[in-house]
Amino acid sequence: MVSRRGWLFVALVFFAIAGWQLGRGVWIQTKAWAAQILIAQAWAATLDGRQGAKPWSWADTWPVARLSVPRLAVERYVLAGADGAAMPFGPGHMHGTALPGMAGNSVVGGHRDTHLAFMRRMRAGDLIEIERADGTRASYRVAYAAVLDRREMWVADPEGPTRLTLVTCYPFDALGVDGPLRYVVVAFRD
């Protein structure tokens, strides 16, 4: 049978794993939210006229818009680029699509477990407000949501009526990250 010392060793190993995984999980979440605070400062600088203000000196992204959903009391700073460099720190604007607030389709991708977790609570008719880099605002109204395969790139076509397309992984509660599904909310310019 396993000795008392044996069980202690096993327990310590599991505690170590627990600490590591819990730490990692918390680290990702903390990073996501702490970053938004720093990005808020960069946004203030952007409104003052500084272009491409970096939230911290080694950042390779910068805020391009402020997005808020009044009904859900949500405020997020959208970063340039919807890729692995920007998205841990905030929703990312997909290159090649219109900038939020500009004519055409603006596509913003973000993580379902951090910045875009609120998407599951969105409803048709919800108002989304965008603040542009020059301080002016634009309003969008949610028209529909859809669960799509990640290859359905038609939804990211930059042409067509002015709208905001939010994209995140689906299902919201899944643990895996490589799933093929995306949850897409489309809001048209009000």
């Binding site: 680290w27 903390t30 702490a34 890729d83 379902r112 939804v155 990211a156 990250v177």
Partner: protein
């Protein structure tokens, strides 16, 4: 050693332990997070695992499923140096509605398209060359009036579009076009290349609108596996009269059936009469060594003019001592290269790195949505650097867009080096829509570097490959299969390493009025012939061609009267002149002047150009005005070896694995506590 009885209050210390452990873990994590963010040097905690997907433009408008069905049949007649092709496009409308079909397809970039015929059953309508806008208007009027009509436009030197209006329900309409081109000769081989599909092009939205006609060069693409009935079958027949006894005739990418008629004649067909239109067709034939002359001079009399073609092959250069080189390799790692192409390119690059000598310097650049250089400036080609480069290249993945301008800016800085030969080797499929902007960039920043292109994959953009190499003073080659890499790269190395024949000039005899193209003769690499086309008023006297190689002079003399006959040289000459005129736009010539000169030439020789199109209208209207006309773009296949998802991209991935980590962490915690319990109460 004490035994404890199980009693309910054991739960309390358990919960306390749990809380303490998680609180500890969380506190540690927050401290670490704070420290890292505040103090860390510029290094990422998580590498950018997901680069942004490339954004290749997909055509809008028209429903590909409802488009007319298309079959293409091509017949080549090769006579000596000239190939004449007839491309027959059969549009069949299987639907109940009237349709207009639009088909975007490639032709060789040097082809002179000089005939269009529209056939409906037994009715035959000859097309006419008109100025482009006027042709469009004539077509639009005919379409609206319910007349059958066909319009053939050039979008790029190697991309054309056929519009066919008013195909009745259940009807079949045939569009025939004809072109001719000069056969390519290189390193002892003649070759005929026929592209069959325009690969999806990357249209950059970074600088809008650089490619204003993007929608005209990006037909809808069928996702592989969904073709079904719509495979765009192609049949090809080649009647080859080489003019010299032949040793071998081969097709690089398709199985063929060859019938031998005599020593120098062959009849070739594609083995599969319904070959899918998803890759280039290339036929090569090798003459028997003894039979090949150094100079071939062909002429044709058309009215008062003589049109002539010269193919001059300088003798092989003696192997001179190599000048030290600085070689910059530029590798396209965009989404269109994913799959077979990137494998071919990597292998080619590795071979090339292995060829560098200790006195050479090198740099490697990769580009997709952005450009990155391996070193910060060229390094010596010594084993450590070469090994690092090979490792780096092997790890590259193909995804994202094709921002070639960024790569060109990195590779070319306009500088001049006296002691080194600087060669920039571009390995790419050329799947871009902004060729003109790139050509201008090459012109501005070339300096004394030389640019070589290696066209990779099943459907490279030949217009880009040939023109970029021409502007860059280099040469081009194609690699379409992994098995070709070694051979083709070996030939390219021979060209890169051997001295070039330069400062070529053609001295025409006195008293002869001549207009010859190209006006400026390019430098020649090992194995390459000098090709020029001329219009003369008489064939008398001797042409002298002079050049310099490795310090020593070279001259060839060609008596003009002794010529072989060839047909179609007039169209070829006119096409070369049109190309030269259009090229002059890049150097600042007036568009109005160029346009009118091109239109004049095109109308005299019936050529499709940037400013002229073919239009054919059947006089009798067939569709009543109440009947609706639907428009559909004929979908094309994805070039073979390309990966659909890598080309067209995916929606952003929006999930971290923080939730999974927290879940696993809690699980581990429970197991840890469980272990402690078992320690306290062993069984």
């Amino acid at each position: 050693m004490q035994t404890t009885e199980h009693h309910p209050k054991a739960a309390l210390p358990l919960i306390a332990l749990l809380t303490l452990a998680s609180a500890l873990g969380v506190t540690v994590a927050i401290i670490l997070a704070g420290l890292t963010m505040l103090l860390a040097a510029p290094a990422y905690a998580e590498p950018a695992r997901t680069k942004e997907a490339g954004f290749f433009l997909r055509s809008r408008g028209g429903d590909p499923v409802a488009a007319p069905l298309l079959a293409t049949d091509v017949a080549f007649r090769v006579s000596g140096p000239i190939a004449r092709a007839r491309v027959v496009q059969t549009f069949r409308n299987p639907h109940d509605a009237w349709y207009e079909g639009v088909y975007v397809f490639p032709l060789p970039e040097s082809g002179a398209v000089d005939r269009l015929v529209l056939r409906i059953g037994t009715r035959v309508v000859e097309g006419e060359i008109r100025e482009r806008e006027l042709a469009k208007q004539a077509y639009a009027r005919a379409r609206a009036a319910g007349q059958r009509a066909a319009l053939l436009d050039q979008e790029r030197p190697n991309i054309f579009s056929t519009n066919v209006a008013n195909i009745a329900p259940g009807e079949t309409v045939v569009v025939e076009l004809e072109y001719q081109q000069v056969i390519r000769y290189d390193n002892g081989r003649f070759s005929l290349r026929f592209p069959m599909v325009v690969g999806p092009r990357y249209i950059s939205t970074a600088a809008v609108p650089v490619v204003a006609d993007a929608h005209r060069i990006t037909p809808p693409v069928m996702r592989p596996g969904t073709e079904g009935e719509r495979t765009n079958p192609v049949s090809i027949r080649v009647t080859l009269d080489a003019g010299v006894p032949l040793a071998t005739v081969e097709s690089a990418y398709h199985p063929i059936d060859v019938k031998e008629r005599d020593d120098s004649r062959r009849e070739i067909v594609l083995a599969d009469a319904a070959t899918p239109a998803n890759r280039d067709f290339e036929l090569t034939w090798v003459p028997r060594q003894s039979a090949l002359p150094q100079a071939a001079w062909f002429a044709e009399r058309v009215g008062a003019d003589h049109y002539a073609l010269l193919m001059l092959l300088p003798p092989e250069a003696a192997r001179a001592s190599r000048l030290p080189r600085e070689v910059v390799f530029v590798l396209d790692t965009s989404g269109s290269m994913a799959g077979a192409s990137i494998r071919q390119a990597k292998e080619a690059l590795e071979l090339a790195l292995g060829r560098l000598g200790p006195q050479d310097r090198f740099e490697v650049i990769e580009f997709n949505s952005g450009a990155r250089a391996l070193f910060n400036g060229a390094r010596d080609a010594e084993p450590d650097n070469l090994r690092a480069a090979v490792r780096w290249v092997r790890a590259l993945e193909a995804r994202g867009g094709t921002e070639m301008a960024a790569a060109l800016r990195l590779a070319l800085d306009g500088s001049e080096r006296s002691n080194r030969v600087r060669q920039v080797v571009f390995l790419t499929d050329g799947a871009v829509g902004n060729e003109e902007a790139l050509f201008r960039l090459i012109g501005e920043r070339l300096g004394d570097s030389r640019l070589f292109t290696v066209g990779i994959g099943s459907a490279p953009n030949s217009h880009f490959m040939t023109k970029a190499a021409q502007l860059g003073g280099g040469t081009f080659t194609y690699i379409g299969r992994i098995e070709e890499v070694r051979g083709k790269m070996g030939e390219l190395f021979a060209k890169l390493e051997a001295p070039v024949l330069k400062d070529l000039q053609a001295h025409w005899p006195e008293g002869v009025q001549v207009e010859a193209w190209p006006a400026r003769l390019p430098d020649l690499y090992a194995g390459e012939p000098l090709v020029l086309v001329a219009r003369l008023d008489k064939l008398a006297g001797e042409l002298r061609v002079r050049g310099q190689r490795d310090g020593s002079a070279w001259e060839a003399r060609v008596p003009l009267e002794e010529h072989a006959t060839a047909t179609g040289l007039g169209a070829v000459w006119a096409r070369e002149k049109v190309t030269a005129l259009v090229d002059s736009l890049r150097e600042g010539a007036s568009e109005t002047v160029v346009r009118s000169r091109v239109i004049e030439l095109a109308q005299a020789h019936r050529l499709v150009t940037k400013y002229t199109s073919f239009v054919a209208v059947d006089k009798t209207p067939v569709r009543a005005s109440e009947e609706a006309l639907k428009r559909a773009e004929v979908p094309t296949l994805l070039p073979e070896g390309w990966q659909y998802d890598k080309v067209f991209g995916e929606l952003p991935r929006g999930a971290t694995d923080s939730r999974r980590s927290l879940f696993l962490g809690m699980l581990a915690l429970l197991l840890a506590v469980g272990a402690l319990r078992l320690r306290a109460k062993p069984w």
